[in-house]
């Protein structure tokens, strides 16, 4: 046995041991009902086995697909996973929003037996923007999807520019056969794609009829990522995503691989069109036939909680995750397209939401307030949200029925009471608030 093989064997033994411990912990945690087993075991296994992430991902038969971006990771992952599963592939996925390193490892451990053998054809891993550079090398992904970069939870992530610079630096060092799928409509990511030595497949929209009338306030990046000059937008689809060119250096939007008009989208909202196109571009590159992809899109059910319809006490309830300015402007657009009169907003500031709630001042809540009706607010930062809504009114003579309710259970009951029988109650929660709302509505705890 040569030295290399010996190391390999020792690696496998240590891996097996790490896996065994982690699995035992998962089992104990679950049987004692200690709550989320989604993050803890990975963290324990990692203490034992520093190369665990690499050793596990190496064993994924057809490769790791890494999904990064501020909005849409879960929806895109679930669509791609469903497509692959339709073809009979076994797919590992960090499905509970655990997208930090520990969560990735836990997801891979789920498909691993006690001696450390992993049994999955693909691993779809949602990765937090900030740890992308750290995990790229150990994961050696086959495909990297870069969905978008919005100002979100900047308290943890730092700035959009810095993030994209770090991504570019590390992705450039990956093997040339790595496929990168960036959003062409996002200037920062378009530029990222243009700089890479790898094969790059862009996705984006080609639908000028969907342009917004004006660039919304919640915009991060309307300056040329290459030279810093203002970009000229022919039109904006949402936030800073659109059709652009730089009058100074000639930088412009990259050409998407797919013709967006030819593809139906999953769920409501323009951002889900992007999620759909991203997943389709990846699926096609993996060799999945068009018929299977189109059929999956037509039958796709809402990714849990992200745009979900429930029926409670005979009334329809639609939950629209609203965790940052861009997402919330979009969910307000969805509410405004309906004639429904009651909306519940729930603002939390826990770690998964971002502890900084100042982003609500970048949301164009004026558009929600102008239509009147009943607005119920709740959550950890209920008064911050209430202030934002109050300051959305130009006059002190308000036609808005603003109800402030600290207690979430009570807030939901009040909102349901105000919802007429033939209408839908729209609930706009942050991430942790969404889990709580769902628990109240269904009586089931999710995490």
């Amino acid at each position: 046995m040569d030295v290399g093989n010996k190391i390999r064997l020792i690696d496998r033994l240590r891996l097996g041991f790490a896996v065994l411990i982690a699995k035992t912990v998962t089992f104990i945690v679950r049987s004692l009902r200690l709550g989320a087993a989604s993050v803890l075991p990975g963290s324990i296994a990692r203490r034992i086995e520093p190369q665990l992430l690499q050793l596990l991902s190496q064993q994924v038969k057809n490769g790791v697909i890494l999904i990064a971006g501020t909005n849409g990771k879960t929806t895109t992952s679930l669509l791609l996973k469903t497509i692959l599963e339709r073809k009979g592939y076994r797919v590992a996925h960090n499905s509970t929003g655990a997208n930090l390193e520990n969560g990735l490892m836990t997801a891979l451990l789920e498909s691993t037996n006690l001696v450390g053998t992993l049994d999955a054809d693909y691993a779809i891993l949602e990765v937090d923007e900030n740890i992308v550079p750290k995990v790229l090398t150990p994961l050696q992904p086959r495909i990297i999807l870069c969905l978008n970069l919005f100002r979100d939870q900047l308290d943890r992530y730092g700035e959009v520019d810095t993030i994209s610079k770090r991504w570019t630096k590390v992705i450039s060092t990956l093997p040339p056969e790595t496929v990168v799928i960036p959003n062409a409509d996002d200037p920062t990511l378009s530029y990222l794609g243009q700089q890479l030595p790898q094969r790059v497949l862009f996705f984006g929209l080609n639908e000028p009829e969907q342009y917004l009338e004006a660039i919304p306030h919640a915009v991060d990046s309307i300056y040329c990522p290459k030279c810093g000059h203002s970009l000229d937008y022919q039109g904006v689809y949402l936030s800073h995503l659109g059709d652009f060119t730089c009058p100074n250096c000639g930088f412009s939007k990259s050409k998407p691989t797919l013709e967006s008009k030819e593809w139906q989208q999953i769920l409501v909202g323009l951002y889900n069109k992007y999620n759909t196109l991203a997943a389709v571009t990846a699926a096609q590159d993996l060799g999945i036939d068009e018929a299977t992809i189109k059929d999956t899109i037509n039958n796709f059910q809402a990714a849990f909680g992200r745009a979900e319809d429930l029926v409670i006490e005979g009334k329809r309830v639609r939950i629209l995750l609203s965790k940052n300015p861009v997402g919330t402007n979009e969910t307000i657009r969805v509410v405004n397209q309906s004639t429904d009169t009651t909306t519940l907003m729930v603002l939390n500031d826990r770690t998964p939401d971002g502890t900084d709630v100042s982003w609500i001042w970048d949301v164009d809540t004026e558009k929600l307030v102008e239509r009147g009706g009943t607005l119920v607010v709740s959550g950890d930062r209920v008064y911050d949200m209430a202030l934002r809504l109050r300051y959305s009114e130009k006059s002190t003579q308000s036609n808005l029925n603003l109800i402030v309710e600290e207690d979430l259970r009570q807030a939901i009951a009040t909102a349901l009471k105000h919802t007429p029988d033939n209408e839908t109650l729209h609930i706009l929660p942050t991430y942790s608030a969404m889990l709580e709302v769902r628990e109240v509505l269904t009586g089931r705890k999710i995490l």
Binding site: D356, W361, V382, L387, Y391
Partner: protein, 260 residues
Amino acid sequence: MQELIIGWLYPTLMSTYGDRGNVITIERRAQWRGYSVKVLPLDRDSTAADIKSVDVIVGGGAQDRQQEIVMRDLQGAKADAMREKIENGTPGVFTCGSPQLLGHYYEPGLGQRIQGLGILDLVSIHPGENTKRCIGNLVIEVTASRLAQDLEEMTGSKPYLVGFENHGGRTKLGKVEALGRVVYGLGNNGEDGTEGAFYQNAIATYSHGPLLPKNPFVADWLIQTALRLKYQQAIALQPLDDILAVQAREAMFKRLKVSL
């Protein structure tokens, strides 16, 4: 009808973390009292005359690259106009990145030192990419003597401000007066207990949040000062219903276990 013109510094370049909330708060509180309000963006298309025409100035935070673009633009006659406004007592609120550019210079974590206007005697330095950002809820007591006195007269109690800080840079004050002392959080540099700066009628702070919605008396002080200066007469502002702001403040004091 009396009119208030709000000058908003580089809205598309300098508006991180909801800083436009300060503009919205001043605008609404003046509108609700029947004043006519104009928000004038002071950006790259604006002239020195535009800067001179405003009654109150609001500036927000920026990413490092955007801050550089701003400083390239704010030169010559525009820089002079800005300096003249602040020296002559035009009130303003400057958050995070904008105090850095009113100071002598800002050194980003990566790249070249960005020269400021040198109006405020302070310098800001980012200690490097691997240093932790100062992030979290912030409570300060206003100690800048003239402002503290004005605010105490308006509210009948010691002025405490509630906000949220989120900055990589650390600021050291020279001879300029601090805005306040940190009661909870880190402030200018996490070391000397100071937060922000106060010069003539310019309020500089690291407090996003944004600052004004939860500290409405500061917004009123800005409006009052601006109108008094403009119309050269005493201005009495009608009281507004601020119960939501009071509740938001109390909720935060309670959570942070700050007893005032």
